[in-house]
Amino acid sequence: MINKVVKTLAEAVAGVRDGATVLCSGFGAVGEPVELLNALRETGVRDLVCVANNAGTGDEGLAGLIAAGRVRKIICSFPRTTDPHCFEAAYKAGKIELELVPQGTLSERMRAGAAGVGGFFIKTSAGTKLGLGKETREIDGELYVLETPIRGDIALCRADRADRWGNLTYRKSARNFNPVMAMAAALTAVQVREVVELGKIDPEGVVTPGIFVDRVVVT
């Protein structure tokens, strides 16, 4: 029998190694799996590469992980969102490396990682400072850059409902990076508001099919 529901946050994040790449969902604090990120911090894991849109808000979740010195590098599009003081302190102290990636490129690179795409050409960042050093190609008279896939060792996501197969639905704009990150990691852990009986989620309305999900925990 398939049952992806685990009892504790600790079980949900178990097994992450030092140096791991962690996909951290959310747009600002919306859709951020704060409790999973807190649980990851409690495991003591370090030297993490975190992939996220922002770089943490307030003191919990991704911000807390950064404040605790566990994040070696952050790959994100916009580090300074609402109340980014944990990131800013680490950045000014030279304790965190920043790889800045345009938001759509960040998302597309993870989708490529999820979809068996080994690289892809897009126009975003061509002819700009963020395009420096990238392989370029002229396609139909326009300049494109080659982008490479991103895959996580673990993705930490947040959803609204789940069933024991790991099918997920989201709530409004809290969907954001969750579906793409859930697809793009070797292991995907999701915190949800509630677990419903198998079959209660309309098969037409499943947003993330359970095939992408490994562990579900109710918070």
């Binding site: 600002g28 919306v30 599009s77 759509g104 998302s107 975003t124 002819g127 700009t128 409004k172 990076f177």
Partner: protein, 223 residues
Amino acid sequence: MKPLTRRQMAWRAAQDIQDGAYVNLGIGLPTMVSDFIPGDREIVFHSENGILGMGPAPKPGEEDKDLINAGKGLTTIVPGGAFFHHNDAFLMIRGGHLDLALLGAFEVSETGDLANWTTEDPNFAPGVGGAMDLAVGAREVRVLVEHTTKEGKPRIRKRCGYPLTAPRCVKRIYTNLAVLDVTRDGVVVREMVEGLDLTGLQKVTEAKLTLANDWKKIEAPAV
């Protein structure tokens, strides 16, 4: 000579948005444009974080913390709207599905280069967000910006001094002084505020300006 207020700038930009357009409004001043859409037009606003049909800010008591805009302020969704994930949101942007992106800027060059993501201030980590995606992807990119910096330096330049967001992407610029088009023949002045002439406008503009034959005064109401 009376420059437009920020609200009047937003009003002016709003007048050019066609009925039925799919539009992304940048963070800051461009966001204000949605308040001035003529009432007979139905515009679908897009947000990078997975919304089409974004509505006005919520009324007190109707706030939903899971419903925010790209600037991370609370927002609403109108009937006919849809939620989707970030990847689809940027497929729409990069794939040329938006009719218009109306963005802020630090500088625009006379060839339409846009600089709106970083001033390279060493005190702050840079952030790019969706700026580059919007600049390369929207079918038309327009900019809404004060004509000069607070210190009076021109923002419409021969070449941008700040790092580019994308080269050759801006088609139209709305400032507090004028409406300007970036054309193959350079920057053309379509409209100016009352009491300003080309010489006066050129003084606060680094790019070489040409006056359109059919140029006119901006008639902005006191919004």
